[in-house]
């Protein structure tokens, strides 16, 4: 199975190609230049793996949550490539990709969502794979949902920005943190592989971002009632 995965949900561009059992990676701090470098770097990595787009089994992408613009670039690229090369696509939740990238098996994944909030989920890995103990959601860092037990690992940028608040909320339950960890394409590929194997990948138009934050504007009637975002 040959897969291409990409993530543009953070300020990094992360690419991975799995050719049979060999993985090729490319990760770079892209800032706001994802659009300028993603396709040239995909071509570069394909060359390195000695593959053509048409040799791929499918495409996987970090679907979010994350930067709205970033996850839409990934979705747009997944749609364009998937439609043009007739490849199935799998969107992977970036919080689960963080959990996979951590190497741990009990993970509280938090991404800085700006505006004083975090994207949050808690996962436990068992024989069947990752189980979401707490589904992805949007929270204030001082009002995160409780988890059971100890030995959790805290990962992602949320732990960077709100480390103290999260440490207080999960006092005594978190054994270590990896605040600098990113939703890597190499983790996206690992999570996507069983979905391709199960034949559950979808056609390209289903490459749609996961936003979590869905209230982005007030309707006229809501504004008139004095509501705020």
């Amino acid at each position: 199975m040959n897969l291409l995965a990409f993530d543009t949900s953070t300020e990094f561009l992360s690419l991975a190609i799995m050719r049979d059992n060999t993985v090729f990676n490319y990760d770079v701090l892209a800032g706001q230049t994802h659009s300028q470098i993603i396709l040239p770097q995909i071509q570069h990595l394909l060359n390195q793996a000695e593959l053509q787009l048409q040799d791929l089994t499918g495409l996987a992408f970090g679907a979010g949550p994350g930067s709205f613009t970033g996850v839409r670039i990934a979705a747009g690229v997944a749609q364009g490539l998937g439609f043009g090369a007739n490849l199935p696509v799998v969107g992977v939740c970036t919080l689960m990709a963080l959990a996979e990238a951590s190497g741990a098996s009990k993970v509280i994944a938090c991404l800085d969502a700006r505006m004083g909030e975090i994207y949050h989920a808690a996962y436990v890995k068992d024989a069947a794979g990752w189980q979401a103990v707490i589904a992805p959601g949007l929270y204030k860092p001082d009002a995160v949902p409780a988890v059971d037990g100890a030995d959790w690992v805290g990962v992602g940028s949320g732990w960077q920005t709100y480390g103290e608040m999260l440490a207080a909320a999960y006092h005594g339950q978190v054994q270590s943190t990896q605040p600098a960890l990113l939703p890597m394409a190499s983790a996206v590929i690992i999570l996507a592989q069983p979905i391709f194997e199960a034949g559950e990948a979808k056609t390209a138009e289903h490459a749609i971002p996961i936003y979590i934050r869905n209230r982005v504007a007030l309707k006229t009637a809501e504004r008139e009632q004095g509501m705020r975002l």
Binding site: S35, L39, G76, R223
Partner: protein, 340 residues
């Protein structure tokens, strides 16, 4: 050559196929107008979220309607700007990635060039050179057009665009958003009763100003509280008279100053029946010709982008070392364009 056009610069997703031998083969459009209406204006983030859901299904629809497959496409043209950056990025990333997978060239189109050239999609298209009036919610410009990419700005609005003035005045009259078309509709039942100013009519240049009109309407509205339906209609009538009269007279001045006898009108306000009536009469009196796009191509669409792209195939052919790096130009001055 078959060109796929992709438009996603604001609140309409448009896809079209233009064949350089056989003309426009198909076009598909989704307007987000109803979605934004509840918010009283275009919400950029929601616009982007909608584009990413529409762009691929509309492409499939356009291909099916034209009885073509992806492999028939020779180049992909897309709107690179100006517009909402997040919205532009959706069409851009999809178009570039699709072109990458098909290994075909892309053509970056300026949205306003698309509008400017839209009347050329019709039968008996106007020949260069001509004067173009571009009037929409975002623009009110007069241009001299000598050919593709040869645009000289003759006049511009100093404040609000004409379409913006329509929408804001409609709001003052309680007609909701987007109120421009509703205002024109209401004006049909209005009578000449009020007198609004004709801004910059005798300014000696070809510039426009519409924000003062809105203030004058506000004064009228305040003087006639509570507003009855008849008063609303009479205000709408006079407002439309004022805007369309100024636009018409400035167009005629532009024709006179350039010595040209050919006018084209494009953009959403170009669909306004009263404006068309006045321009038809004025150009006829001066033995000039006036051309419009069909009504559905006055507003944003993929057909004008596919067409503008096809007119710039030369640009594409000179761009052979393409590496599919892409970016958008939310602000992009039309005068930066060059002839292909």
């Amino acid at each position: 050559m078959l060109v796929l056009g992709v438009e996603s610069s604001c609140d309409e997703t448009g896809i079209a196929l233009y064949d350089t031998d056989h003309g426009l083969l198909s076009h598909a459009l989704h307007s987000q107008v109803e979605m934004h209406a509840e918010y009283g204006g275009v919400v950029p983030e929601l616009a982007s979220r909608d584009h990413i859901r529409r762009v691929l299904p509309l492409t499939e629809l356009a291909l099916k309607d034209a009885n073509k497959t992806l492999q028939d496409i020779d180049a992909i043209a897309y709107t690179q700007g100006p517009g909402l950056s997040g919205a532009l990025l959706v069409g851009t990333s999809f178009a570039e990635s699709l072109a990458f997978s098909l290994q075909i060239p892309t053509i970056n189109v300026h949205h306003l060039e698309g509008h400017l050239l839209a009347p050329l999609l019709e039968d008996n298209p106007p020949a260069f050179p001509f004067v173009a009036l571009l009037v929409s919610g975002g623009h009110s410009q007069l241009m001299r057009v000598d050919g593709i990419g040869q645009y000289e700005l003759l006049g511009d609005t100093l404040d609000d665009a004409a379409g913006e003035a329509f929408d804001k005045t409609a709001k003052l009259l309680g007609l909701g958003y987007p109120g421009g078309p509703a205002l024109s509709n209401l004006a049909k039942t209005g009578k000449p009763r009020f007198k609004l100013p004709r801004p910059l009519l005798n300014s000696g240049d070809l510039n426009f100003s519409f924000s003062g009109l809105k203030t004058s309407v506000l004064t009228l509205v305040n003087q006639h509280q509570p507003l009855d339906d008849e008063t609303k209609a009479d205000i709408a009538y006079e407002f439309q008279e004022a805007v369309t009269e100024v636009l018409t007279i400035k167009c005629m001045s532009a024709l006179r100053e350039t010595g040209l006898d050919n006018l084209i009108v494009s953009g959403g306000v170009g669909a306004n029946a009263k404006l068309r009536e006045k321009l038809n009469a004025a150009t006829k009196r001066k033995l000039c010709k006036v051309s419009y796009p069909r009504l559905e191509f006055c507003t944003d669409n993929g057909a004008m982008i596919a067409f503008a792209g096809a007119m710039r195939l030369k640009d594409m052919q000179s761009n052979t070392d393409k590496n599919y790096s892409f970016s958008v130009k939310p602000r992009w001055n039309l005068s930066e364009l060059q002839a292909p």
